[in-house]
């Protein structure tokens, strides 16, 4: 080899060595970061089926139960409007007073509506819970989506990991239980994406339950000195048993990420023991519990993208009073999470975009089930169940209200392109051709 050849070849080799580590799974050389609007996104899937009438429209009992003069806003942290002053049953209970007669004091100085972007009249693409959650996470209407199977279309976690180069612990889904196929929402079964790009997941109220503690809480804490040979031997064994992509059945974290997750689980059990877990002031239901664990995940991992679901309002099928109480509490715990990020997680404070949207609405007309207050209950199957709202606030989000009852703007399938837009990978997501063709980033709707 002559001198010229040597210099050329060694130059190419050096260049390749320098560039190769930066090639993303999608094949792109660098993550598209120029147009990132924020470093973190938290998506609260305000699920369980929320009627427009009792939420953004502030109609309380006037529309649902025909109680004249009983309109009012029971979600003071999210929306503007005076509270109802008649037949108050959505609050907490105080001894000697009627049940639920004490509304929870507002946490935020201003409602979120005044801090960001409100789409008061959006359209859901389905009237069901699982498909609705799928829609929020995949940007696809999911008309053929079955239960007990992973989403058919890639989730936002996969898009971000593949196109923005996020690592597994950058993306989290915090589910509120293991029922209703919820634990399957961290990844799709799409052959081009799937579990190798899936987000991490806890069905937190189960992982950190008493049973969880019994099964996992006594786990040894191995030092890195112990773990290193274990992983070395395991990796040796795994090398000769390679799995194809469709055989992979779990999210893949690096060894370091796994250690961090295990330490985190142990630390949560320890904090439970000493009562050190931060939680909303009123933490009486499963939604509050899930927010509490989501806050812990945010504090520990500072993920780029975290989605969580709550669903307390689903009691509306048979108990309207409980629905109102859970709606009021969902407003409270959602505001608490936002506030918690601002005051307790400095790395995310001022650098996070917070998105809140239900997965579907509820019917216009009630079913015949009466609760203890003789109020009718509501299911979700008609066109009213497709009426939802969406809220977005945080870094650089303008304060505007877009759309109205008469003029709906936005679809739930907009959430995924919006998040992709925030992280600068909107084109990649759209070009994949797997989201709703009518979906647009909410920034483009403004």
């Amino acid at each position: 080899m002559n001198r010229k050849d040597f210099i050329t070849k060694s130059g190419i080799t050096m260049g390749g060595g320098l560039l190769a580590p930066y090639i993303l799974p999608s094949g792109r050389l660098f993550a598209k970061t120029a147009s990132m609007k924020a470093d973190h996104v938290v998506l609260v899937m305000f699920a369980g089926g929320v009627r427009q009438q009792e939420s953004v429209l502030g109609r309380y009992l006037e529309d649902s139960q025909g109680v004249s003069g009983a309109a009012g806003n029971i979600m003071p942290n999210l929306f503007e409007g005076d509270a109802p002053n008649k037949k108050i049953a959505y609050g907490t209970s105080v001894a000697g007073e009627p049940l639920g007669s004490e509304p929870i004091p507002r946490l935020l100085n201003q409602p979120m509506e005044k801090l960001g972007l409100l789409f008061p009249e959006m359209r859901a693409q389905s009237a069901g819970h699982y498909v609705g959650l799928n829609t929020l996470l995949t940007g696809n209407p999911g008309v053929s989506q079955g239960l007990r199977v992973r989403p058919s279309y890639p989730t936002i976690f996969e898009y971000l990991r593949k196109h923005a180069g996020f690592k597994a612990t950058d993306t989290w889904f915090i589910g509120n239980g293991i029922g209703n196929s919820t634990p399957l929402l961290n990844s799709s079964n799409n052959k081009d994406y799937g579990l190798p790009y899936g987000g991490n997941m806890f069905a937190a109220p189960v992982t950190f339950s008493a049973t969880g503690k019994e099964v996992l809480g006594n786990a040894k804490i191995y030092s890195n000195m112990d773990l290193e040979p274990m992983y070395f031997m395991k990796n040796f064994l795994d090398q000769s048993f390679a799995l194809t992509n469709d055989q992979i059945s779990s999210v893949s974290n690096t060894d370091e990420e796994k250690i961090q997750i295990k330490d985190f689980i142990k630390s949560v059990f320890a904090k439970q023991q000493t009562g050190q877990l931060a939680k909303p002031p009123i933490a009486g239901n499963g939604d509050a519990l899930n927010m509490m664990y989501a806050a812990e995940v945010l504090r520990e991992f500072k993920p780029k993208m975290l989605a969580l679901n709550i669903s307390g309002v689903d009691t509306c099928h048979s108990n309207f009073t409980s629905y109102l109480q859970n709606l009021h509490r969902a407003d409270h715990v959602t505001a608490w999470l936002w506030q918690h990020i601002q005051y307790n997680i400095p790395e995310m404070s001022g650098n996070t975009i917070f998105i809140v949207a239900p997965e579907c609405g509820r019917n216009l007309n009630p079913n015949p089930i009466l609760d203890r207050n003789d109020w009718y209950s509501y299911d979700h199957s008609d066109s009213n169940a497709r009426r939802v709202w969406g809220l977005m606030l945080g870094k650089g989000v303008p304060n505007i209200r877009i759309g109205s009852e008469a003029q709906p703007v936005g679809r739930l399938t907009d959430i995924v392109p919006t998040i992709a837009d925030i992280f600068g990978v909107l084109d990649d997501v759209k070009n994949a051709g797997l989201i709703d063709p009518l979906a647009r980033s909410l920034y483009q709707r403004v």
Binding site: G175, G198, N200, S209, N218, K220, D226, M230, F232, I261
Partner: protein, 164 residues
């Protein structure tokens, strides 16, 4: 003449008796003893959660897991996105309990080859390949800190153990 006839009959009778009584031969067929073991390349079916947990439990405790414990364990593992993390924590939880049946570290160090073969049979239901034997022998010999628990953890958390 009559005597001649009688003798002929006697001779004929003796002939019949001696020729009909052949000694019976006992014929038996045997088969060679063969150990029936799994082949790695044929392990294509993934154990489901219940199978994985109950096989692991039986392997370590040498007794069956109760249905209630199995149900609880299944739910908790299902609630964690990274199954490896869940499995590793479950295993280390087991190692932190009494009643587990595993060889002592000294036994492993006394005859490393035998330990490797037994471990492969215990977890993978197969013999190790020559390469695997050499790797583990060298690794265990050269790393004095390696314990039986570490080796068992590596096997129980490996991909092959999740398949049959």
């Amino acid at each position: 003449m009559p005597n001649f006839k009688l003798n002929a009959w006697i001779i004929y009778g003796l002939f019949l008796c001696t020729s009909a009584c052949t000694k019976e031969r006992i014929i038996g067929y045997e088969i060679d003893q063969v150990n029936v073991l799994e082949d790695k390349s044929l392990k294509t079916k993934k154990k489901n959660d219940a199978e994985f947990i109950s096989i692991l439990y039986t392997n370590l405790y040498q007794s069956a897991i109760s249905p209630n414990q199995l149900y609880k364990t299944q739910n908790v593992l299902y609630s964690i996105g990274d199954q490896d993390v869940g499995n590793e924590m479950l295993l280390s939880n087991y190692f932190n309990t009494s009643g587990i049946t595993i060889p002592k570290d000294a036994v492993m160090r006394t005859d490393i080859d035998a330990f490797i073969i037994n471990t492969f049979k215990r977890f993978y239901l197969r013999y190790p390949s020559e390469g695997e034997k050499v790797f583990f022998n060298q690794f265990i010999t050269n790393n004095k800190a390696v314990t039986v628990e570490m080796v068992y953890t590596a096997f129980a958390c490996s991909k092959e153990y999740q398949y049959y």
